[in-house]
């Protein structure tokens, strides 16, 4: 069972845990219905992409645990406390942590609870969870990170506590920097076994080494669109939960996002809500 975890930017939205259903205009999580702009914001964008991908491979719809938080951390605390109490009952096989506020004790306690699950879930971190895992030195307790080049620079700088403090920052992916920084991050214990570096050219990394480079189809206008990194995380999560080997899942997720981008024919003002509906068809095309 895939469980996706994160916050939704709605003040006071109660915590909800349940199975998800994406219908184009709405996203249902348990009994909670998200509509309009909330369907594709942050964690919700990742969830929608995971729903679309799961549907394309005939896998069960993912579960999600989300709560309202606009940055003050109250919802974030509820989210962690709920998972600390219930994750061993939920027993996810794959769990993805996404937009969360960095926290020390609650994050560590959750990972301790996850360790009690047998077999241990495949743990994925993106966004705030990725930043938090590295800042706390617990990256090796995850199986997959999905950074962009800036986040990779942060993972490779062992002194930096946040991307804003990185001393050697890369904006663009090239054939020299990505292998070098990926190896550095892995050797320093700041990246897990698997990574996909999300950029105009995607890199799949296993044990600190580049094993695949994906640049086709190339859709330059995808880069400014907020959320296209979140969707790769959702697609990867869904494919791994559906039984694809991680390395294969990451290559396929990269392709799905690119093909969906091609179908959406985007310009820089295209929104993620116009992009996500194409993921189902793209996944069908890529998976066959």
């Amino acid at each position: 069972m895939l469980v996706l975890v994160g916050t939704i930017p709605i003040d006071g939205m109660p915590l909800v845990y349940g199975q998800c259903e994406y219908n184009g205009d709405t996203l249902k999580i348990g009994d909670t219905l998200l509509e309009g702009k909330y369907v594709t914001l942050g964690t919700a964008a990742m969830i929608c992409a995971a729903c679309q991908t799961s549907k394309a491979v005939n896998a069960p719809m993912p579960y999600a645990c989300v709560v309202g938080d606009t940055g003050m951390g109250e919802g974030n605390r509820k989210l962690f406390n709920y998972l600390i109490e219930h994750v061993t009952e939920i027993k996810p096989t794959v769990m993805t942590l996404h937009y969360i506020l960095p926290t020390r004790d609650l994050f560590a306690k959750l990972l301790d609870e996850v360790d009690k699950i047998d077999p241990r879930p495949f743990m994925i971190a993106d966004a705030g969870a990725l930043l938090n895992a590295k800042a706390l030195g617990v990256s090796k307790r995850f199986d997959l990170f999905t950074p962009d080049p800036g986040e990779l620079s942060f993972l490779a700088d062992k002194e930096a506590a946040h991307p804003a403090y990185v001393q050697h920052f890369i904006f663009d992916v090239d054939q020299t920097e990505v292998p070098k920084l990926s190896k550095q991050a892995y050797d320093d214990g700041n990246s897990p076994k698997y990574m996909i570096v999300k950029a105009p050219v995607d890199h799949v990394i296993v044990d600190g080494k580049v094993v695949a480079v994906i640049n086709d189809p190339n859709v330059p206008s995808l880069e400014p669109i907020g959320g296209t990194g979140d969707t790769i995380t959702g697609e990867s999560s869904a494919l791994i939960a559906a039984g694809f080997e991680p390395e294969d899942a990451l290559e396929k997720a990269s392709k799905i996002n690119r093909v969906a981008g091609e179908m959406a024919n985007p310009i820089p003002s295209t929104t993620i809500s116009q992009f996500i509906p194409h993921i189902f068809e793209a996944a069908k095309k890529v998976i066959g």
Binding site: P9, T43, R104, A135, D148, A161, V166, Q167, P220
Partner: protein, 180 residues
């Protein structure tokens, strides 16, 4: 010659207050430097402000007057090395024809050249970033809310720098248009 002064470091519980503090102090003419807090005070998402020791009392009084919550003030020897924030070095601008994307570190702001309308905002990882995106989307640079007014994390603070650069570019474009 050894004329470097000892340092006073203002640290905060929430980056929201650090962002406000910087704005308040700079408006009042203080010389403020942004640095990472010492390790014992670090959570991973934080920012401290360094001021000269002979100005710290006045800075503290002003912040209290403006309701900016301070966690602590630390005095450090001049030899103490603090990591400066590199945001001004982390800016890159990409031209997409009718649109411009400004990146600062891990944050991106994209606007339409003709109108200054923000058409996309991405990056970051904390809960306030989707909230920022929702509130800034469709607003005009310089007229709508700013990341520093809404954001509460260092990603939002990084976004503020991208916004500032985007505004500077848009104002330049308007100037060129007006000068024709």
């Amino acid at each position: 010659m050894d004329d470097e002064k000892d340092k006073a470091l203002i640290v905060f519980d929430y980056i929201y207050h650090a962002m406000r503090a910087k704005h308040v102090l700079e408006e009042a003419g203080f010389d403020v430097r942004e640095v990472a807090p010492p390790v014992d005070y670090r959570t991973g998402c934080d920012l401290a402000l360094e001021v000269d020791t002979d100005e710290v009392d006045a800075a503290e009084d002003l912040l209290i007057e403006k309701d900016v919550l301070i966690l602590d003030i630390l005095f450090m020897p001049k030899s103490e090395k603090l990591t400066p924030i590199y945001l001004t070095k982390l800016i890159k601008v990409s031209d997409y024809g009718d649109f411009v994307m400004v990146r600062c570190g891990n944050m991106k702001v994209t606007f339409e050249k003709a109108t200054g309308k923000i058409v996309n905002l991405s990056g970051g990882g904390c809960p306030d970033i989707p909230y920022l995106g929702m509130n800034l989307y469709g607003t005009i640079l310089g007229e709508g809310p700013r990341p520093r007014e809404i954001g509460k994390t260092i990603c939002a603070y990084t976004c503020e720098h991208a916004y500032e650069k985007a505004l500077e570019i848009f104002n330049g474009l308007k100037g060129k248009k007006g000068g024709k």
